[in-house]
Amino acid sequence: MAALSEEQQMIKDQASAWVREQAPVSTFRAMRDQGLAQGFFTETWQAMIDMGWTGLVVPEPYGGAGLGYQTLGLVLEQLGRNLVASPLYASSVVGAAALLKSGSEGQKQALLPKIADGSRLVVLALEEGPRHNPNQIECRAERASSGVILSGTKQFVMEGIAATDFVVAANVDQGAGKQGLGLFLVACDAPGVHRHAIKTMDSRGYASVTFDGVVLGAEAMLAGPDTGQAVLEAVLEIATAALAAEMLGTAAAAFDMTLDYLKTRKQFGQVIGGFQALGHRAAGLYSEMELTRSCVEAALSALDEDAQDVKELVALAKCKASEFLHEMSSQLIQIHGGIGMTDEFDAGFYLKRARVLENALGNAAYHRDRYAKLLNF
């Protein structure tokens, strides 16, 4: 990134210090060991609220700081480094984006301040099958006299256990056999909403959520069938770029752990980083990390500037972040050898988190295909 502003530097330093001192990987480990269904410590979340991170990208009129995605990326990267578990990404980034990109002024006024102060957790309920496919939605919103009736099941809803509200993507019947995508706001305690925790290998709070004939009033519709698809795409751009920033942090920490080990572990009477095979591998990983960082920063700044090529840059960022995190997390284990395989050591956490996030919002292949389509081939 070109020089950080004073404010950005301050936020980055604050995040880095807090993560180092207050949220080491041992905190994540303790959360995992306790088997918390919500997938994070309430104290961790409260600390983030106190530091104002929950309102980082929420515009000032709605009670946030309106600082932009580059600044957000600085925080997410630091959180990714220590695998900090919290609903910050799912609600304060993705949930906020859903409200910002859709929603009437009244809906924004009602919910964004509560996302910004952390009192409501609004998360996107999108996925239905094993692979990210926003164009293949089975959830339905049938028109009824009072509004719509929502039915269907959403899978892998991030922070779906702690969520207070869901933004649900569902097909709306437009008559004459046509249907379009809509986005609906559903309170978690509405009659007909059922959820259960999905136990994933990375110990985060995923849920499967069923909407069993949930009756919604007209005010629940954030985006109707004429704008729903475009709104969802805009929300996913933000969600995807921000996720890439977190993944970059996770991968960068894995790189640092690996490099440190290469400089201290001795075999055959020398530190193993002196073996050319390992030195070259480290050089290759470092180069990929630098390339990935450029892509992630470019995507975040494209979001801030509403750049024309934002779609391409977001696909590029997620593809590169997925590829690099994949390779880096595998090498983290490989280079650490036997110790890397033990649960006592942290490497396994990084590997598990890596595969979960690689898959989220489209893996490398998905975004490579998307990039090719955007370039007309």
């Binding site: 490099l259 630098e290 081939f377």
Partner: protein
């Protein structure tokens, strides 16, 4: 408008007016062809010579170099304006090409290590575009292990006597001067007995032989020194400190190579549309070969990432990129961009991509084959792919050095 931008706009006006009066119209859009082409083996005459001399008279062939040495004395913003205005009228700056290794590598190194006298004697010639420089680095037994070089220089009264053989001296047969790494002390560690000498190429003790490569004719030569002579005051840097001087010069080389160069500049248009023209497309507009499509997408994404990284490093250096260790990452990355593109192009051209000469192939196709072959050198010269990885491991990551001895 600030004073600075208004000054820049005034400068832009001056440049535009000067170009209108001085740039020969019939060179417009002609590129480097009138200046001897890449090989530099044709004389520069007529309008081309006129343009070279006019540009040099303002120092604008080396716009940011000091004016008292023949440069333009411009700041980076002014130089950018100059370049934009030249681009606008279809003019190129031929002087970096005509000076061989002079503008990109030798000149910056002389300005850093040279005495006042050396700068006065050598820099203006480089700025004029009339003095071409080559580099005597590699030897038959000193490639990646450059420090093993054996070409020897001995003091002989008021000059040095040089004996030995260099190889891969690009443009040696058409250069007037050579910057050579030579051994001046054999009794110490390899790197501590090397010096950097500058010598004239036109003398009885210097003989050059062009090397033919897998792609055909090449700018490379073997260069033989047989009691060749270098003046005492043409030692650049301290005696036996040539390794630092030479390494610094290579950093300038890497800096100039970071922008990925097309291995063939003949094949134009986007890679994906060219691929479609050979491979065809599906009803939905996708490249017909799904496997190739993925690999082209991967390549284009890496290319984009490379470009974004150059932009990021430049921005982080506040628009004034100094030669840095990061250049080593960019060289390998640029190499991958160039070679991958060439391989993919060759692949999708199929049978049209195997031509050597003749009318069965288009000029672009033949040119591409030659470029693809020639491009294999990119990961070898200027510090091979593997040497770059050694440098990253040691200098950037701080890993111990066990692979280079001496």
């Amino acid at each position: 408008m600030t004073d600075q931008t208004s000054n820049l706009e005034t400068f832009r006006g001056e440049v535009a007016e000067w170009l209108q009066q001085n740039f020969p119209e019939n060179l417009r859009g002609q590129g480097i062809a009138p200046f001897g082409g890449v090989e530099g083996d044709r004389a520069v005459e007529g309008d081309a010579a006129l343009w070279r001399d006019r540009l040099a008279s303002r120092g604008w062939g080396t716009p940011t170099w000091p004016a008292d040495l023949g440069g333009g004395g411009l700041n980076h913003q002014e130089a950018k304006v100059l370049s934009e205005e030249m681009h606008r009228v279809g003019a190129i700056n031929p002087i970096p090409l005509l000076a061989g290794m002079g503008v990109t590598m030798v000149g910056p190194t002389i300005m850093e290590y040279g005495t006042a006298d050396q700068k006065q004697r050598h820099i203006p010639g480089i700025c004029s575009g009339k003095v071409r420089w080559c580099l005597g680095y590699s030897e038959p037994n000193a490639g990646s292990d450059l420090a093993s070089l054996a070409t020897k220089a001995e003091e002989n009264g008021d000059h040095w006597l040089i004996n030995g053989q260099k190889v891969w001296t690009s443009g040696a047969d058409i250069s007037q001067w050579c910057g050579a790494l030579v051994r001046t002390d054999s009794s110490v560690k390899k790197r501590d007995g090397i010096s950097f000498l500058m010598l004239k190429m036109d003398q009885p003790g210097v003989e050059t032989r062009p090397i033919k490569l897998i792609a055909g004719a090449s700018p490379f030569c073997e260069t033989f020194f047989n009691d060749a002579r270098a003046e005492k005051d043409d030692l650049l840097g301290a005696l036996n400190d040539g390794w630092s001087v030479g390494k610094r010069l290579l950093q300038h080389e890497r800096a100039s190579q970071t922008a990925a160069r097309p291995t063939s500049n003949k094949v134009s248009g986007s890679l994906q549309s060219l691929a479609k023209s050979y491979v065809g497309e599906t009803a939905t507009g996708e490249l017909a070969d799904a496997d190739l499509r993925v690999r082209i997408a991967d390549h284009l994404m890496h290319t984009r990432a490379h470009g974004l990284t150059i932009a990021r490093i430049t921005a982080e250096a506040k628009g004034n990129p100094e030669v840095s260790a990061a250049a080593s990452i960019l060289k390998n990355s640029a190499t991958r961009v160039s070679q991958e593109r060439a391989e993919l192009t060759l692949e999708f051209m199929g049978h049209q991509g195997i031509g050597w000469e003749g009318d069965d192939f288009s000029e672009d196709e033949i040119e591409h084959v030659r470029g693809w072959l020639g491009g294999k050198a990119i990961s070898i010269y200027g510090g091979s792919f593997e040497i770059q990885n050694n440098i990253i491991a040691k200098n950037i990551l701080g890993l111990p050095e066990t692979t280079q001895k001496g």
